[in-house]
Point group: D2
Chain length 265, copies 4
């Protein structure tokens, strides 16, 4: 048994380097060009694209994030509050628990809608006809239905016949001068999905954010990250309230009583 | 064995409610007053305090968040990239893995510094003498040393003799017209800790953010949340790069080779 | 604005109920029938199936778990160790970080292999011919290839041309008198996938565990849980070693140096 | 800007190495000596101590694990079920969310009780008098009370005046021939804490597991790992039930209705 020499580790990252007196992020000096100069959303845009956003881009990107921060007592807010009950010393653990529910059913649908919208917009070009957009939407919807999957980005249990957050985001994109193809396509997908299923399936907030992802030229593979960033903010807000007005113990006791009451002899 | 009636669940939250056509967050209409109107940092301030920030507050709060977003290949960025390797379908899981390392050693120290600074500033009042501040700092440092704990918010392995992020944050607070007591106290703690330990312990970025938490009147118990929000942004940025220029497989293979090479027969 | 009455919560669970002097789990008294009477694997089987295993089932189930506990410095062991560096106070967070990488690429493939094996075995009946098994395998492999996906449960970067863990598990099932169809089918899938891809794709440990899941009549939707249980044990073992012989700081420093060295001016 | 050579990575692990045909864990051949030969609890003991347990040790260790697996609808079981609702594709994420609540309030108290019992037993030696044990217990309780902290390992909201799981574990240790000092000390701590607080504080299951940790000579710093391993099993069991008889959607809807009903105009 002889030790061989320690192997070399050769990896590369272009995001950040630092020395004793400075930190440089994507070529910008963190202390003189970023801290105090840009808001968090603008910095997030830089990190997710490696470029500084235009004013319109920063505004749309912040709007997309803001739209997903909060929606009341959601399953992930509940998971965060219940986790905090057992581990109050570990705020990061409580937030992480909440984030873990952002999967294929709720917020993670941003990923799917961004993916089909990016592909569709690339195919449709700059000024597609109404018929072209409708045909693309029909193909997208048919693909999901063949695989027995929900079409991501459309439909909402409460916000129907329209999700007001989606409307304001799509309108903002147009007001700010972005091209209209992504918005037209997601609306056409909503119409095609609704027709195929026989019930109203409005563009929801994750569908509208998917359109923003396309307008902002973000990689659809990190589109779910917008939801993760936004919900992190919301979950810290829920912990702020949980500390002041706790609900977790009540939630636990009542649920345990309800769940096991048929077992008591 | 008889079922008893389902129990009533009586809990309360004041954050958000929604109906088919609107979402209301802390009394503001999400779609007309927030989306497209405020940046993410400003909305985060609202959720963490229940009030709209002044312009100075929004700027300082965003600055505090921006200062912690990125510091290169940290242990949590590595955990995120390695987790993504095994579960690329679950961006939220990779980010959550990275957040879980924001504990007592690194970013979580915001909590401790915010706590002693909040208590110290409350005690010192508006215009304490230099001697009062120094005495308070000495007491704070002595408390940690008696418990055998590091003083949170001071000292940095790379950024020495000063952490430039801390300096720019503390200066920004003064420029924006915030009171100077928190900054004076954290600097005095740095001096006292340095003297007691015999080595330079500069105010680091988490100490400066602790001071910002006091200036912005945030609850110290959610101070760690600023780090969690900021690092979430950074971790999504690392996933953007990992997709384009992966390092996780190399990191794994080289580490496994290195770690087990003395075991091979 | 009037408060409406608190709503009733009506949910049900059959797993466990307790009173001051006892805890009852799936009809067994925890203190007199389980603690000290059954090993952890046997209790896990009970919870995952709601029935007590036969001796052969307990042995195969424990074997399947044991086979996945440990495989050296894997990405999830690294994530756990790196997370512990930042949050040593939170063992549960470090383990959770490691578990989050058990997704579609590594351990999570148990789920896919269990799914196709369960469906295939149900279709093939008790004593299928060699040709029937081969035809079923060919259909399974074709399905994955059409979707552009890897066939779960076959192939390994190190253990080739056979994964010794898979062989011992499949053999054990036969020795213990379980039917042979699942083992035959997963071996046929390995052969068909190998032929289709032109390279050796041995049944790997997750494929063999998938076969065990079928033999033990577990729901394939919780098959990934076997990997999660097993790796939890392994990850706590890594934390035991990390406390005695830490590697996380070295790993961090060397990776950061390596990654950013091309950025230094 | 010149690239410097890739640095060497020199780390060490003694747990496991593998080649094409074998995997070796702590000197044992995984395939011939462990899979099918040992139960999961026994393998866990090996990984947590680096030695094979005696029969008595394996039995006590398995018992300690079994005692914590299940306690009905706990906050962590709820977090797991709620997380699964949003990300059903990611069983590992749902389990991880549940584990994150095993902190200082619930299961994590194993760590504290193991720590004071290990120190106390080391100090008391093999055959302390009743008075020595009582004096040690009084000092332990006084330490926690001075710091304003709960004494870990004693007290239970439901199981009072005794936690039956604790009794069976402590008795089992004695039956199996382990020394009695740890059990005597934790009972004395219960008595002293009860007297100091004026209410019954029975040894609870985490206190009894703390005693087992001492009897089995485990490092107290990984004692919380026993709870993490045990609860992982329990949480997978809850997901098995959640798939068959879901409660998460009901829990969400009723909680959101209850929480926000006072906000509706």
């Amino acid at each position: 048994m002889t030790d061989t020499p320690a192997p070399a580790l050769d990896v590369r990252s272009d995001i950040c380097w630092s020395d004793a007196t400075s930190v440089t992020v994507l070529g910008r000096d963190l202390c003189t060009e970023l801290i105090g100069q840009v808001d968090l959303g603008t910095f997030a845009f830089l990190l997710l694209t490696t470029r500084t956003p235009s004013e319109a881009e920063a505004r749309l990107f912040n709007a997309a994030l803001v739209s997903l921060v909060e929606h009341g007592i959601t399953p992930n807010a509940m998971a965060t509050r219940l986790t905090h009950l057992g581990a109050p010393e570990s705020l990061q653990g409580a937030v992480a628990a909440g984030l873990l529910g952002l999967g294929t059913r709720f917020v993670g649908t941003i990923e799917g809608s961004a993916q089909y919208l990016a592909a569709g917009v690339a195919e449709l070009g700059d000024a597609p006809t109404h018929a072209d957009v409708a045909a693309a939407a029909t193909r997208i919807v048919a693909g999901y239905r063949e695989r027995g999957e929900h079409v991501p980005g459309v439909g909402h249990p409460i916000h129907t016949p329209v999700d007001p957050r989606a409307e304001v985001l799509l309108d903002l994109g147009l007001q700010l001068g972005f091209p209209d193809v992504a918005a037209r396509l997601v609306r056409a997908v909503s119409a095609a999905a609704g027709e195929a299923s026989g019930r109203a399936l409005p563009v929801n907030v994750t569908g509208a954010i998917g359109a923003c992802v396309v307008l902002l030229d973000l990689d659809w593979r990190i589109a779910r990250g917008l939801g993760v960033i936004a919900r992190t903010v919301g979950l810290v807000g829920h912990l702020r309230e949980e500390l002041a007005e706790p609900m977790a113990t009540t939630l636990w006791r009542v649920t345990d009583d309800s769940a096991s009451r048929h077992l008591h002899p």
